[in-house]
């Protein structure tokens, strides 16, 4: 076993000399259209395209890594990757443990979806664990039912376990619009301070680089163009 570790370590050593630092981009890969694994098995989506553009502009070499949503912050802190670019809203609570760049997606609406109209929004509501939507449901007085992925929350509504699902509207939209059984319910709720790239607090240099290129992309309109490409003409832009 020791030998195996040594071999791996030796390989890691021999392949890694004299190259520019690689920024490892951590994402969930299960949150279309923000990020998802396409049919080729690669990370794809708005954040993939944005992330690659940011890296090119900032002159960084980037590599994409997927990680479960539940453990995405702990694994950033322990250094498995260097950024979280996974549709993560900037909140004060998260800012206690990690840092964020400025937002690259404006504060987005969250919405309820249910099987039939008139669902009880104070009843049992499904949400993805560790999201701002889950926090909101817990505070709204409804019974919160948490699941590891967005898909599980939808499944819970479909099999009657929950009365409705509460999630980011853009992520929820395909389940409602594409002939799905779900319907919008109640009003949209604006939540969070927009979506930013999560970084370790000690990584101030990287934060500066990303902030600079995001500002640049906001100014020349290329960020807005990217948002419209992935989220449609009605999407909120800068």
């Amino acid at each position: 076993m020791k030998k195996l570790i040594l071999t791996v370590a030796a390989l890691a050593l021999s392949t890694g000399f004299a190259m520019a630092d690689t920024v490892r981009m951590g994402t969930e890969g299960a949150y279309p259209p923000y990020n998802f694994i396409n049919d080729k098995g690669e990370v794809d989506g708005f954040e993939r395209e944005l992330g690659d553009t940011l890296c090119t502009k900032a002159g960084l070499t980037c590599e994409w890594v997927t990680n479960e949503w539940d453990s995405i912050i702990p694994n950033l802190l322990s250094g498995n990757y260097d950024t979280i670019i996974a549709g993560m809203s900037i909140t004060d609570e998260r800012k206690e443990t990690i840092d964020f760049t400025q937002n690259y997606y404006p504060p987005a609406a969250s919405a309820y979806a249910a099987l039939s109209e008139g669902a009880d929004l104070k009843g049992v509501i499904a949400a993805q664990v560790g999201t701002i939507q889950a926090d909101y449901v817990a505070k709204s007085g409804a019974t919160l039912l948490e699941f590891a992925t967005l898909d599980d929350t939808i499944a819970a509504v479909k099999n009657g376990e929950a009365d409705a699902v509460f999630a980011d509207k853009d992520a929820l939209a395909p389940f409602v619009t594409e002939g799905g059984d779900l319907k919008w319910e109640g009003d949209d709720v604006p939540l969070g301070g927009g979506i930013g790239i999560g970084l370790r607090k000690s990584d101030t240099e990287l934060k500066g680089k990303f902030d600079a290129v995001i500002t640049e992309m906001k100014a020349d309109g290329s960020l807005n163009a990217l948002i419209v490409k992935w989220f449609g003409d009605d999407a909120a832009t800068f």
């Binding site: 076993m1 392949t15 690689t22 920024v23 279309p32 080729k40 690669e42 000690s202």
Partner: protein, 293 residues
């Protein structure tokens, strides 16, 4: 994969299914079966070696070694597996990086663990962040193998310890009467004779190992459970092959796979058990002798 699959949205029926099942993502799914097989085939001998070492240590006349052997089995057997699976890889990863940090990084005076962050300099990362992703995966897999081997090794140690104690004293005494030294008795009589007593316990462990492989998913290795969930979940029109929630079909496939694996194992273990029982002073050995006579 096939040229006809270039535009999946125009396909229907069997042609669609053919293209769907051969998409790049499905290839990764099929590949992950090999990952799981590799895990089992690597862990089994390594865990057996751990177990052998643990059992011999636990029987050692040298007290500290005996304490070590007994402590190892008692600790792993007493702590929930899942804690080991979560703890061992993280502790090993950070421990190795910390050692390499001490070795390679210029002293900065800053603590490695601070504010809940674990920071070593870029040169101390294992693997380095510049290494291709595949090596990160191999490294994660290696850590998983060690975690599995530590846990299953402890159980194997206990099984082997029990099996060594079950070898009839008369056989060992006969060997001693022939003038064999303790080491010779162990090597020539005890170890060859113990397998028949160890096999039922070891075969249990093997079947548990087969069923425990989905824990890989917990360690961040993209195994069959990860891909089954990922492929089966609802796919909107943003994907090339949109479909509703098909997870139940993928998990049924996994069910068939696991049942198949355990069935094959049972057949092979049954044969091995018969082979080891031949001529033994056990009920099974006696039954075989009578049937043959």
């Amino acid at each position: 994969m096939f040229a006809s699959c270039a535009d999946p949205k125009t396909l229907e029926g069997l042609a669609w299914l053919m293209c769907y099942l051969t998409s790049g993502k499905h290839m990764l799914f099929y590949g992950s079966f090999l990952v799981v097989l590799a895990l089992m085939l690597i862990v089994a001998p390594v865990a057996l070696a751990f177990g052998f070492g643990g059992a011999l240590a636990a029987r050692s006349p040298f007290a500290p070694l005996r304490w070590f052997g007994k402590g190892y089995t008692a600790m792993v057997r007493g702590v929930p597996d899942i804690i080991f699976f979560l703890f061992v890889p993280v502790a090993m990863d950070q421990g190795l990086e910390w050692l390499r940090h001490l070795w390679t990084c210029p002293p900065t005076g800053e603590p490695v663990w601070s504010n809940g962050e674990f920071n070593v300099c870029a040169a101390a990362k294992i693997p380095l962040s510049t290494t291709p992703q595949i090596w990160h995966e191999v490294y994660g897999f290696a850590l998983a193998v060690i975690a599995f081997a530590v846990v299953f090794g402890a159980f194997a140690a206990n099984v082997l310890y029990g099996a060594m104690n079950a070898v009839p004293r008369a056989q060992l005494e006969t060997a001693e009467a022939y003038g064999m030294s303790p080491a010779q008795v162990r090597r020539r009589i005890l170890i060859p004779q113990m397998w028949t007593y160890a096999l039922p316990g070891l075969s249990n462990l093997w079947l548990i190992l087969i069923k425990a492989t989905p824990l890989l998913f917990l360690l961040g290795v993209e195994d069959i459970v990860y891909w089954a969930r990922e492929l089966g979940s609802t796919k909107s029109a943003i994907y090339d092959y949109p479909h509703p929630d098909w997870r139940v079909w993928y998990f049924l496939a996994l069910l068939v796979y696991y049942l198949g694996m355990t069935r094959i194992s049972e057949l092979l273990l049954g044969r091995l058990s018969a082979r080891l029982s031949r001529g033994q002073a056990t009920m099974a050995g006696e039954a075989m002798r009578k049937a043959g006579a």
